[in-house]
């Protein structure tokens, strides 16, 4: 026999202003199984909670109803309170007579009548409640960071410094991402490699960090605290245990290929390190261009290698490991503008380049040792046009969003151009200038003082004339057409999501928006979490951003992971689905309906009617189930029920209201 206690809260005048609390309390007294009713000024306050706890003791209550604010406000509060009593925390029902009653209605009669109905419903439901107990989810205290750019590196360092092992997976031969390609970083004009390389080295040398270069995540299963991830370590053809990084192989390799790192401005060899400061500081062999691997000729590197580290027979390796948390930091790519902007030459003009290519030009360790020259003839350009928002803020042909970093790096490029080229002329064509950061606007103003000419308008046509490029545009502020003949044009192109983010997102159940960026759990309040518990985001994978924001997000994601790893185990949500094995016939409809992949069907042996039979039954993964109830509604055999919201409990509520 239930012994229900009902507590109606005034909430000051929030409830009492539109609801006659005493009348509600009076009506509650006559509800079945209600043995105690009390009013309370502020039930959530200390004295309020103490009063409830005392009443439970005095009247030997075994379940309570609280008429108060929304459960989203204080359900946790009251459950915690109950955990200090003899009553199970889930023997609680909250009748929301504030947000859904007193705050909605104006007349007291309406509010009071509705509150009485709501309390009657809650009392009927709580009568059918059963005690629920949360389980323990074990945690594998090892983290996986996917993507070795600055965000991935920072996250890995933070987690490793906290004492937990981290695997850092990177698909390129070296970590460092896009940051290590840059020359200087705004607004301080730090040399990018000078600040990135120390972090790269730290990650490479850290005892808790395992770097897997030239590797990609191939498969993943599991749930928070217990992910099982399979990583494909692609064949490097070099034994890293033997290789000492001397670089002799690279010097003598006869096979020359266009260097991706140098954005097509220089060549590399088939056996190569993408750049001198690469971490790991050991080369790989690009099998597609290796003569030995493809034609069984050459083999020079093997002959020269003093450490006998070359292995042409190397194969891809699939490595499966357990992880407790995953951080996705796959970063960005630049949009392929050549396919979209035929009016800029569609890539046929060698001196019309994008921002990253310009970075390689002005980089002192780049293909021209930092001299700004035209890719076409190697001559120094005297005039330069920089066009912002190429592919960004262009819903018609490109992406509708703003790529966030271009206004600043456009100003940076203009500044560097004017610094390096004597009597240089630099025209920046813009729509707006967005310099919202510490020291950003001052940097932009400095660039104007350097002599950069900012023209507000877009360029409609670039065409070659002689050795120069005629850029036709408009100055919308003076409403005049503007034509600039420039030696070189730099396009500030849109950032787009990496293609690999598609696969990775699918593997971990992280959605992407229409533009391909991975979706955070809440754009304002939960920017580094995803809707999959245990999977976090960091850096440009979540949306275009600059280095300071990427690093901040990386540390935020690391903090979430460290917070999880500091616990011994996680509490599982007890309000999950259960399977009635008698009714379940293993049809598997629930498996398809579950948005969290929490249900699976398995063949099990059961003893029924003194006979062993093999049956297919549904099984719920307590770690993944979020208690949404979709499967419960879809089960044709009524085999599934949601603890805390069982069919019977809900029907009781309906009966209490309608009968």
């Amino acid at each position: 026999m239930s012994r229900i206690g009902v507590f109606i809260c005034h909430c000051g005048t929030n409830i009492a202003g539109t609801v006659n609390v005493s009348e509600v309390a009076e009506a509650a007294k006559s509800l079945p199984h209600v043995v105690h009713v009390e009013e309370n000024k502020y039930a959530c306050s200390d004295p309020g909670q103490n009063a409830i706890k005392q009443a439970i003791e005095e009247h030997n209550l075994d379940r309570i109803v609280i008429g108060s604010c929304s459960p989203r406000m204080h359900e946790e509060t009251f459950r915690k309170m109950l955990s200090e009593t003899s009553v199970n925390p889930y023997m609680l029902e909250i009748a929301n007579i504030r947000e859904q009653c007193s705050w909605v209605h104006k007349e007291k009669e309406v509010g009071t009548e509705k509150s009485i109905d709501l309390v009657r419903m809650s009392a009927a439901k709580v009568d059918r409640n059963v005690p629920l107990y949360s389980g323990e989810i074990p945690i594998t205290k090892r983290a996986l960071v996917i993507g070795g750019g600055i965000a991935g590196i920072q996250a890995a360092l933070d987690i490793a410094d906290a004492g937990f092992p981290v695997t850092l997976v990177e698909k390129e031969p070296s970590i460092g991402g896009k940051m290590v390609m840059l020359d200087k970083t705004f607004p301080t004009m730090d040399c990018s490699a000078c600040i990135c390389a120390p972090k790269m080295n730290e990650a490479g040398a850290h005892p808790n960090i395992e770097i897997m270069n030239l590797s990609e995540v191939e498969d993943a299963t599991g749930y928070i605290g217990n992910f099982s991830v399979t990583i494909r370590q692609k064949a490097k053809y070099i034994d890293y245990d033997k290789c000492n990084g001397c670089g002799l192989c690279e010097q003598k390799c006869p096979s020359k290929v266009v260097s991706e790192f140098e954005r097509g401005l220089a060549q590399r060899r088939a056996v190569y390190k993408p750049f001198p400061q690469a971490v790991p500081s050991k080369p790989i062999i690009d099998a597609a261009n290796c003569r030995k691997i493809n034609e069984d000729r050459c083999g020079v590197c093997h002959k020269l290698c003093g450490a006998d580290a070359i292995n042409y027979e190397d194969k891809d390796e699939l490595i499966t490991q357990e992880y407790g948390a995953v951080i996705i930091a796959t970063g960005y790519e630049l949009i392929d503008w050549t396919k979209l902007y035929g009016e800029y030459g569609a890539g046929a003009y060698p001196d019309v380049i994008d921002g990253l290519t310009f970075e390689r030009l002005i980089n002192a360790s780049g293909p021209t040792e930092g001299k700004i020259v035209r890719p076409s003839d190697g001559k120094e350009p005297k005039s330069c046009v920089m066009i912002k928002c190429v592919g960004s803020r262009d819903p018609h042909k490109g992406k509708a969003y703003c790529s966030r970093a271009c206004c600043m790096y456009g100003a940076k490029h203009a500044h560097q151009f004017l610094e390096k080229i004597e009597d240089g002329e630099c025209y920046v064509f813009y729509m707006d200038v967005r310099a919202a950061g510490k020291g950003y606007d001052e940097f932009y103003m400095n660039t104007l003082e350097d002599g950069a000419v900012y023209v507000r308008g877009r360029i409609s046509h670039i065409y070659p004339e002689g050795s120069q490029y005629v850029c036709v545009g408009e100055d919308t502020l003076s409403k005049k057409l503007v034509t600039v003949s420039a030696d070189m044009v730099v396009l500030d192109t849109a950032m787009v999501a990496q293609e690999s983010a598609d696969t990775i997102g699918r593997l971990f159940g992280v959605t992407r928006n229409l533009d391909g960026w991975l979706t955070e759990a809440h754009p304002k309040l939960r920017p580094v979490e995803t809707n999959t518990a245990g999977v976090y985001l960091a850096g440009a994978a979540q949306g275009p951003k600059d280095i300071p924001d990427s690093v901040a997000q990386a540390s935020a994601a690391a903090a979430k992971v460290i917070g999880m790893f500091c616990k011994d185990s996680l509490e599982s949500n007890p309000m999950i689905c259960t399977v009635n094995e008698i009714n379940c016939r293993g049809c598997g409809d629930c498996v398809d309906v579950c948005p969290y992949g929490a249900i699976s069907t398995q063949s099990v042996d059961r003893r029924e009617n003194s006979v062993w039979v093999t049956r297919t039954l549904a099984f719920i993964n307590a770690g993944l189930c979020q208690g949404c109830g979709a499967c419960t509604a879809s089960c044709k055999a009524s085999a599934l029920d949601l603890l805390g919201f069982t069919n019977e409990q809900i029907l009781q509520e309906v009966d209490a209201l309608c009968l």
Partner: protein, 400 residues
């Protein structure tokens, strides 16, 4: 692939674009392309109608298309003028967007219109129809050997992409490919789909002339000897206004502006008079005619040139050191490179080659009716004979 279409001539074909129509019909006759004129077709409204009233701009083409559907069922429509093509295609596009749209058009024109027949530009059907291309190649009696031509598409033929569904809007290649077939050398230039100013030449002449000047300038600096167009207004503007541009800017552009169909027709054996080549403002007869060659001759010349180029690229053999042996000394002399050709014709100057009849006399031009429909008399400017033949354009000083 079909060689029969419903033909929408457009108003210009009967007036300032007469040469376009004449050359189109010549080609059609010669290669067996059946162009059936839509009976009682009306003006498409061009750029004027859609500035005034949207319904009018759609109803005018819709009527012609509906007539075509009824009287020439099953035939797709082809229009030679870029604006006509644009308006007709836009109307069909509108009608196919929704049943409401189509019903609206039907109520405006008071006729049934199912919007099934497709609409193509003349350039499009030649570029995309292998049978037509093969037929042209089969009946070519001459090639335009090495005529450096800037293919000017104008703004309407290849835009907007969702409507016209043809070629690339920034760097179209269809006309270039077709003229390459007949032996010309299309140049790479940057103003292929740039606007000629269209009716601005009449309403806002100063702005219009600037646009024509830009086209001429870029064609010239990229090595063009002539310009080819596929739109009567483009042809008119760039041709007729060239002299005025020269007066205004002190330049001396002298680029003949052809319809691409005129060039093809010449290669199919047409005389300039037959296709209205003598009606141009800027004399256009000599430039193309002087490039016409027998295909075998042209091929031989090309082969000879290629051989000479290859031979010149080969390193000369090192001279053997002189020895006391006088007999071998002579043999040791470095042999000069000898370019031999099998065709004696290659050695003769160009002027001696058989030329098609080029009528450069300034007789009053008689308009020869080439089609069933009666053509109106077209008054052309008389070109002074003394001015011809024109020297090559490369010698001219180009004013900015």
């Amino acid at each position: 692939m079909t060689m029969e279409f419903a033909y929408y001539p457009g108003c210009a074909s009967c007036a300032t674009g007469l040469a376009y129509d004449m050359s189109t019909r010549y080609i059609a006759r010669t290669i067996g392309l059946k162009l059936r004129v839509i009976p009682d077709w009306n003006c498409c409204g061009a750029s004027a109608a859609h500035l005034v009233n949207r319904d009018l701009s759609l109803a005018l083409p819709a009527r012609s298309l509906a007539l075509s559907e009824k009287r020439l069922p099953g035939l797709d429509v082809v229009a030679s003028c870029a604006a006509c093509f644009g308006r007709l295609k836009t109307t069909r596009h509108f009608a196919r967007e929704s049943n409401e749209n189509r019903a609206h058009l039907e109520s405006l024109i008071d006729r049934e219109y199912r919007a099934e027949a497709n609409v193509f530009s003349l350039l499009q059907i030649i570029a995309e129809n292998d049978d037509i291309k093969e037929a042209i190649q089969a009946r070519m009696t001459k090639v335009l050997s090495g005529l450096k031509i800037a293919c000017y598409y104008g703004c309407m033929l290849v835009r907007p992409t969702e409507v016209v569904e043809f070629d690339d809007e920034e760097n179209p290649q269809s006309m270039d490919d077709i003229l390459r077939l007949v032996g010309a050398e299309p140049v790479d230039w940057a103003f292929k789909s740039y606007c000629c100013g269209a009716s601005l030449q009449v309403t806002e002449p100063s702005a219009g002339k600037t646009m024509v000047e830009k086209i001429l300038h870029n064609a010239q600096i990229n090595g063009a000897e002539a310009i080819a167009t596929a739109c009567p207004l483009c042809q008119l503007n760039v041709d007729m206004r060239q002299k005025e541009v020269n007066w205004l800017t002190g330049s001396s552009y002298d680029l003949p502006v052809y319809y691409f169909t005129e060039l093809i027709a010449l290669c199919l054996g047409a005389t300039p008079k037959e296709i209205g080549l003598d009606k141009h403002y800027n004399p256009a007869v000599t430039c193309a005619s002087s490039k016409l060659k027998d295909p075998r001759v042209a091929a031989a010349e090309a082969a000879a040139e290629a051989e000479a180029a290859a031979a010149a690229a080969k390193p000369k053999p090192r001279p053997k050191p002189k020895t006391e042996d006088t007999t071998s000394a002579a043999a040791a002399e470095p042999q000069p490179e000898v370019v031999t050709t099998t065709e004696p014709v290659a050695a003769t100057p160009v002027a001696a080659e058989p030329q098609p009849e080029v009528d450069v006399a300034a007789e009053p031009v008689a308009v020869t009716p080439v089609a069933a429909e009666p053509q109106p008399e077209v008054v052309t400017t008389t070109e002074p004979v003394a001015a011809e033949p024109q020297p090559a354009n490369d010698d001219k000083v180009v004013a900015p």
